[in-house]
């Protein structure tokens, strides 16, 4: 029932993205740096938005970038990119995006539990704002209630 690990390499604080593609690409690079995906995964995350629209902006200020499981996914992974300047994804209500969470899963079943954990964090309406203002990877992990190696940490969560 745990979220995937979120090592320092999977977190980018205050990224400068000129548009949504660049924000998603930054998120893809973070997933690749952390060893979760190959670099092609970023292209597939972008393709999902090109095909289906900005529905990945699932709450005000928050995009959940993701694609189907595939050969470019080495293992389940999570990345968090906060944006120095908010970026429009083209969502009618939830733009502009300040935080991009990247998700990579190996199969459709395994991720439901970890996504439920994400839901726990973001059911708190202030969570996106706190994440957007986080100063480092440790603070992001604390807000998400996960450790460097994944899973819950004592006293973590949306504190």
């Amino acid at each position: 029932m745990n979220l995937p690990p979120l090592p320092d390499e999977a977190v980018v604080i205050g990224a400068h993205a000129v548009d949504w593609r660049s924000a998603v690409r930054e998120t893809g690079r973070a997933l690749t740096r952390s060893g979760a995906t190959r670099s092609d995964y970023a292209d597939r995350m972008i393709a999902v938005i090109e095909e289906f629209g900005a529905y990945v902006v699932i709450a005000p200020g928050l995009a959940l970038a993701h694609a189907r499981p595939g050969r470019d996914v080495r293992r389940e992974g999570l990345a968090v990119v906060t944006l120095a300047e908010p970026v429009a994804f083209g969502h009618p209500h939830n733009d502009p995006v300040r935080v991009v969470v990247g998700l990579a899963v190996e199969n459709a079943e395994e991720h439901v539990a970890s996504v439920a954990n994400l839901a726990n964090v973001f059911n708190d309406a202030g969570a996106v704002d706190r994440l957007a203002r986080a100063r480092d990877a440790a603070e992001v992990r604390a807000l998400l209630g996960i450790g460097v190696g994944g899973g819950a940490v004592a006293g973590g969560g949306a504190a």
Binding site: F52, G53, A119, F122
Partner: protein, 94 residues
């Protein structure tokens, strides 16, 4: 009673919608099965569903895919807002 949460690829966002729809149902003291689906599988998945939850972005494509289905397509703005989802479900099911 059956509810389908649908997103483009059937993982990630639809799973979040499913989890929060279950929380909303619990709050409303309603019982229903909530399944996640991708857009490609929605017509089959929604055949015996009462409600399809999706984003406003995907709603036109969902409506087109399900055609004259019995199911009502309900648009959710904030996938994490259990209050919003509760309100929407109460309106559709109540």
């Amino acid at each position: 009673m059956k509810i389908i949460a649908v997103c483009g690829v059937g993982i990630g966002t639809s799973a979040i919608l499913k989890v929060n729809a279950e929380r909303a149902l619990e709050r409303l003291e309603l019982t229903a099965d909530v399944d996640a689906s991708d857009l490609a599988g929605i017509a089959a998945a929604a055949a015996d569903a009462q409600v399809i939850l999706t984003s406003s972005e995907l709603a036109p494509a969902v409506r087109q895919a399900v055609g004259r289905s019995f199911a009502e397509v309900v648009e959710v703005t904030n996938y994490f807002d259990v209050d919003e989802i509760s309100r929407l479900l109460e309106r559709s099911l109540g």
